[in-house]
């Protein structure tokens, strides 16, 4: 697996201007009556990429997936797959397969026949079908269950059958609609890694729709964060998390503290923002906004230090407050700190040692502080 990891690390076709996208979504709009589900959306997905469409329900991610599968036709715009326009091509002629959220297993067929279904439609010889079905059953570790009907399987097993069925035809692209939504947390986490290994092993392009950011962060090479039918940001999970391009993305992915303020000075690669909370932050910024502009500052809880002593950087990037709430999660502790003006911020610290002498307690006066590169400037 080590080699896979290293391939993965160097896998970034989107950064290479010479690489050709495998799926190109060009200015696609989809309307249902007056409702605009997908709004002039453009996206490139590269071969062998694990691509996630992430967003709240109703953001248009499922509609986009259904347009890729052919169940919906774009109102305008075009989708190109492997150099070929998909316009007017019905679902049954597209070289893509979909794994449905409900799994959509045929209840009247055995596991075996479910997996063989697509192959039979293609008129594959019987012996080849049997061989491929066997191979698929082994891949998803269900060889012992081939004669069962879907209702005799557990949720996790059904999910595997659905996966095997959608992979049996060796599609160019596998579309996954909330593939792990129906599984419990532990099984979901295991399956995430299995899906990733499977995708690497088969060398397929996966497009997954999910509302679960953890799932998207774990599995995807790149994530498209969607809202109101538009893509807000497309980036790798670390970029999405550490450098959100907007307030929406910063807020949607993970926990964040946002301080609003006005740009007071712009220096050498840094910008200072006088926040409404009453302290000034100095942030590293390559494209700083103009002095006097409204701007926000976003910083993640784990990048905020909480301590009793006045930090050296004060009054820059530091503020005083009192501990309002303490949440002990085992691996880390979350502090809610109430600042002087009443704003409550979240800070978390890793519990790297088992016992801390004189831990911070409720109602204690503390300082919060962070580094210049701990957060990002939000221009919107």
């Amino acid at each position: 697996m080590k080699s896979l990891g290293s391939i993965r690390r160097s896998f970034a076709p989107w950064a290479d201007p010479k690489s050709v996208p495998f799926i190109a979504v060009k200015n696609v709009t989809k309307k249902f009556g007056d409702f605009v589900a997908v709004d002039d959306l453009s996206l490139n997905i590269y071969p062998r990429e694990f691509f996630a469409l992430l967003g709240a329900s109703g953001c248009g991610k499922s509609t986009l997936l259904r347009m890729l599968a052919g169940f919906e036709q774009p109102t305008s715009g075009e989708i190109i797959l492997d150099g070929q326009s998909l316009a007017g091509i019905p679902p049954y002629k597209r070289p893509v397969n979909m794994m449905f959220q409900s799994y959509a297993l045929f209840p009247h067929m055995t596991v075996e026949n479910n997996i063989a279904f697509g192959l039979k439609q293609d008129g594959m010889p019987k012996a080849d079908i049997a061989e491929r079905v066997d191979q698929m059953l082994k891949l998803v570790k269900l060889d012992k269950f081939s004669k069962r009907k879907p209702h005799q399987l557990s949720g996790g097993q059904r999910q595997r059958v659905a996966l095997a069925r959608s992979l049996a035809k060796r599609p160019k692209v596998l579309l996954l609609d909330e593939p792990l939504g129906a599984l419990d947390k532990k099984l979901r986490e295991e399956t995430q890694f299995e899906l990733m290994d499977l995708q690497q092993e088969l060398g397929l392009t996966f497009v997954v729709v999910t509302h679960d950011q953890e799932e998207a962060m774990t599995m995807a090479d790149r994530i498209a964060v969607m809202a109101h039918g538009k893509v807000v940001q497309v980036a790798t999970p670390p970029e999405i998390y550490e450098a959100p391009n907007s307030r929406f993305v910063a807020d949607f992915i993970g926990d964040v503290n946002i301080f609003d303020g006005t740009v007071s000075s712009v220096g050498n690669g840094t910008v200072e923002i006088a926040t409404e909370t009453g302290f000034t932050v100095r942030v590293a910024s390559s494209e700083p906004p103009a002095v006097g502009a409204k701007a926000g500052f976003a910083v993640r809880p784990e990048k905020i230090r909480v301590g009793r002593d006045r930090p050296a950087c004060a009054p820059l990037n530091a503020a005083q407050g009192e501990i309002w709430d303490i949440g002990y999660l085992g691996d880390m502790t979350v502090f809610h700190v109430k600042l002087k003006d009443g704003k409550v911020i979240k800070a978390s610290s890793l519990n790297a040692v088992r016992a801390v002498e004189d831990p911070l307690g409720y109602d204690q006066e503390v300082w919060i502080s962070f580094d210049e590169n701990a957060g990002v400037v939000l221009k919107d």
């Binding site: 052919g70 019905p90 679902p91 449905f100 439609q121 069962r148 035809k169």
Partner: protein
């Protein structure tokens, strides 16, 4: 309710259908069988022997000894009965098939309709029941007779030169049965189609089926429970149907319901009509029991 009370309640609830079956099916059925084993008599009731509590156990045994299967032998000797059974089954089978052909698309259309208008469509299917069954069958006489609405329409359109003879033929019976029993076919099929997950047909298409193939390989097989239930609800009463063949059928139409009516009322031969009814029941029940047995076995195999 106390625990004991709720256990008692649960038992009572289970007893009700069995009690119903006992009092309104099994006991009457045994009375019918018992009459079918008797012989006709000019008396009241018009058969012998008649049980009498006063005659005691000895009299009871004597009476049992008088039972004979002569009536059943009589049914095999006169070809009329076999013909009536055969033609009843045939007419019922053809009618059931025609009903299925019409009802399936109707049910499918209803299941595909937007959620908001489904209750209205459902009500429209049930609407004919608001008028008396007899009146609706009589209305068909007016429609189908030589100078009736249907012939007038065809004549006016110039499709035919002289009226078609439909009334008093088997075609009129088919029309009558299909019309009368259509809702019984539509409703079970609709209910099986309606609860089907739409993503199943999408999955079939995704895996390479054209919409038509997806229908035959996924939708139709999954609607089979509804189709079977609908066919039984039409076929079983249609075999014994009396009113429709009597009003719409012709003199040459031979159906067992009519034969039974004749034996019972015109001939006043209760034992023979009881035997006719018993055989009819066996013809219907035995195949259904085999079918259900096979079905249960097939279900069990998958486990």
């Amino acid at each position: 309710m106390s625990k004991f009370g709720s256990a008692l309640f649960n038992r009572l609830v289970i007893i009700i259908p069995y009690a119903w079956l006992l009092f309104f099916f099994l006991i009457p059925f045994f009375i019918v069988i018992r009459i079918s084993l008797s012989e006709t008599a000019v008396a009241m009731p018009p058969y012998l022997p008649v049980f009498d509590l006063a005659s005691g156990i000895g009299g009871f045994i004597d009476n049992i000894k008088q039972f004979s299967i002569d009536n059943y032998i009589w049914l095999t000797e006169d070809a009329l009965y076999a013909k009536a059974y055969g033609s009843s089954l045939w007419i019922a089978a053809v009618s059931t098939f025609l009903t299925l052909l019409i009802a399936y698309p109707v049910a499918y259309g209803m299941a595909q309709a937007p959620n908001t208008i489904r209750p209205t469509l459902l009500m429209l299917v049930i609407l004919p029941f608001w008028t008396s069954f007899l009146i609706r069958v009589y209305a068909w006489i007016a429609i189908l007779k030589p100078e009736g609405l249907f012939n007038q329409l065809l004549l006016t359109l110039g499709l035919i030169d002289q009226p078609l003879i439909i009334l008093n033929t088997n075609w009129a019976i088919y029309i009558g049965i299909v019309y009368s029993y259509l809702p019984f076919m539509v409703l079970p099929i609709y209910s099986s189609l309606e609860k089907m997950d739409h993503s199943l047909t999408e999955a079939a298409q995704d895996l390479g089926c054209t919409p038509i193939r997806a229908f035959w390989r996924v939708t139709f097989p999954l609607s089979m429970p509804g189709v079977v239930a609908g066919c039984m609800l039409v076929f079983i009463p249609a075999v014994g149907e009396f009113v429709i063949p009597d009003l719409l059928g012709g003199s040459e139409t031979l159906m067992i319901g009519k034969t039974l009516w004749n034996e019972f009322n015109a001939n006043r031969d209760w034992p023979v009509s009881a035997a006719v009814a018993t055989i009819l029941l066996l013809i219907l029940v035995v195949p259904i029991m085999f079918f259900q047995h096979a079905q249960a076995k097939a279900d069990g195999e998958g486990r």
